[in-house]
Symmetry: C2
Subunit: 389 residues, 2 copies
DNA sequence: CATGTTTGTTGATTGGGTGAACTTACGACA
DNA sequence: TGTCGTAAGTTCACCCAATCAACAAACATG
């Protein structure tokens, strides 16, 4: 590693500290926390300020001594655009370094069994509107990331399969070649992996390791370990929905028998509760509140199956917390007790540690947010590559 | 990061290159591979040589130009000691930086349902002999690591449970306080995680991500991802034996129903083949060769269950290869086809990628070797901390 | 208004990597 | 046998980034 690399490393450390600190830190705070000297930090902060990545707040008076100048992530200077295609909406969202949404467009509709190229065309249109808005506001676009609920093979696709959408083998190269997506780095990734990043940020400072479960028709998951999303060899980790619950159970669309999806996926839940498959989850919770035995049994079965699957996972990767997202958020009150029952008997380390099950704190837009954040993380990892000379 | 840290980082980079290079590299080779200048590499190599971590071979003549001086890991200067307690043997093995075994003592016996403190006493005795031998040979002992087939809680225990040995809640602090273990850093870790390290080294340059499965009475596993062993929150990852194969299957010693261990663990296999539980696996392979239908059915069932469990795991963590160790090595020919059958139907990404199943290339002593190597890895990560001034 | 305190900056210094020139040691070739 | 070309390793002046101590700035305190 060269000396230049050392400087860029420290630049990254300082920027990360500004972004992740709970309270806006002063130069002296950063020096204390990182072990660098105030002189070094000052020099690095100056570079970050001139690169419009960091901004100064008015000096904070009130304490004895020279007032500290609080440093915050710059607002509305650099932004990343997260795109998302999901079963019931499309969206484009620009997020700046401070984590604020700078521009956004969403379209609610049903995209099951939709035509990929038509839908991707809509996504490009939304992205173009958002990017145009950023241009007008003088916000630099550092990159675009598309969240898809399926197996994405590599940064530019193809999308191998997205069962929820009914898509299969969709080539994305043409998509990324269109303006305005060709103007900046652009890529695609799995929805659950990206949503987990948003959840991680939301829980910053509390936990850094958990399994994020994103349920809809299919059930995706992402393992967050020590603040990093575990991607696996091809970025295809987290196919929780195709965990085998009963090896001789009902046949799944994937061809195997007894996949979790057939017990705890949305379609399976609605069917078991004798509700229309395409109706919103709200109807299931309504039925539960009305005291429907079928609905209660459906949720019980789903919770049991989810408990079996999560138990396996916890035994295999020793993760201390599970965060339930997607349709499980609304069902959590009824679902979680059944999950915990199963976990208690199945987790081997149970006598000495506890696996907690929580509900996601991010909304349905988590993937879009996470997609944008992934790109912002790259700025933090290497600010020099993004113009911090 | 300070300048001193930069230097120590580069020292680590150079040492790692010497250790991991297929052919002994010259200073110039290292400079070319790392991007450092020859001058810098020379200075770092001199430090490593005076710290007795690296040695020079005679100049390699034959090509035009000044002959290069090949650099190799130093032999018999620094060594780490790996200790192991397993169902049928105890061992202590000292390995030097070159990966060679410098001293070794093993004891074969049956340690099922053994008394922990008596056995640990034997281990200390073996370790003392090995360390005394190292002392006599002038080899510095950099650390000791004990491999145990169970849940080890933290670097110094306690050992929460080791079903194969019949141990439970064994305090290890007294063990580590005894001489000669108190002389250098000492710790304990899970057997499968350590054996996976040995397997990783054996496959250096070929694969860096795989799931290592270590089967005996219980079935442990370790996920190796990109050259790193994934430990999980407490280091308790890899409890593959307690993956649920059939949620209403046979009751396991752990209390849950249908654990893999009850299908594919050694006792389960022997019992299904109507063979004495304590007899060696050899008897099962003999029965298979004799054409025993019971034995074939037992292995078929085990392979099927293992396939279900591994399928789940592959779907969840996207690992491209499985390496079977322990008793599966002898059974591989009969077992693997059944495993592959199940994987083919259950792995979601199967149409686009292939999960390969291979047999371990390390012997029964893999954990001991891996334990020693883990400590040697720490030298590589921070040579300055081990006397490379 | 003087004092103490903390922040941020300045300039000389330290130290680690760099680059070019140099030395060394070999094969190739006449 | 001697010269030349080549590549490895070393030397040394230099550059650059972090450091340290001194200093200036800006506030609270009394």
């Amino acid at each position: 590693m060269s000396q230049k690399a050392l400087r860029e490393h420290n630049l990254s450390v300082v920027l990360r500290h500004v972004l992740e600190c709970a309270e806006p830190p002063s130069r002296a705070d950063i020096a204390g926390a990182t072990g660098l000297t105030r002189a070094t930090v000052s020099a690095l902060v100056d570079r970050l300020i001139s690169a419009r990545m960091v901004a100064e707040l008015p000096p904070a008076t009130g304490r004895v001594g020279r007032p500290a100048v609080p440093l915050v992530p710059a607002r509305r200077t650099l932004a990343a655009v997260g795109l998302e295609v999901n079963v019931d909406y499309l969206g484009a969202r620009a997020v700046d370094l401070s984590g604020r949404v700078v521009a956004e467009r969403t379209v609610a509709a049903d995209f099951r069994r939709s035509e990929p190229h038509a839908v991707l065309g809509q996504v490009v249109a939304l992205a173009a509107e958002v990017i145009a808005e950023l241009d007008r506001a003088g916000v630099a676009v550092v990159g675009v990331c598309l969240a898809l609920p399926g197996l994405v093979d590599g940064a530019h696709g193809p999308l191998r399969m997205a069962p929820n959408l009914g898509w299969r083998d969709v080539d994305l190269t043409a998509f990324f070649r269109q303006p305005p997506l060709d103007r900046q780095p652009a890529r695609a990734a799995n929805e659950a992996n990206l949503a987990a990043r948003a959840e991680l940020r939301r829980r910053r400072g509390e936990v850094s390791s958990f399994l994020y479960v994103s349920a809809d028709v299919g059930i995706g998951a992402a393992l967050v370990s020590d603040g990093d999303v575990f991607l696996g060899q091809h970025g295809w980790s987290g196919e929780l929905g195709h965990t085998c619950v009963e090896p001789r159970g009902p046949r799944c669309a994937c061809g195997a028998l007894g996949c979790l999806e057939q017990y705890a996926g949305k379609d399976a839940l609605m069917r078991a509760a004798r509700l229309p498959v395409d109706s919103p989850v709200q109807e299931l919770t309504d039925a539960l509140e009305r005291g429907s035995r079928l609905a209660a049994a459906a949720v019980r079965r789903a919770g049991w199956a989810l408990g079996v699957a999560l138990g396996n996972f916890v035994n295999l990767v020793d993760v201390p917390q599970v965060v339930l997202g997607g349709i499980y958020v609304e069902l959590a009150n009824q679902l979680v007790p059944h999950v915990l029952d199963e976990l208690r008997t199945r987790v081997l380390s149970r006598p000495w540690t506890d696996v907690t099950v929580e509900v996601s704190r991010t909304g349905q837009d988590a993937a879009m947010l996470g997609a944008a954040m992934t790109l912002l993380t790259e700025i933090v990892d290497d600010p020099a590559a993004f113009g911090a000379a």
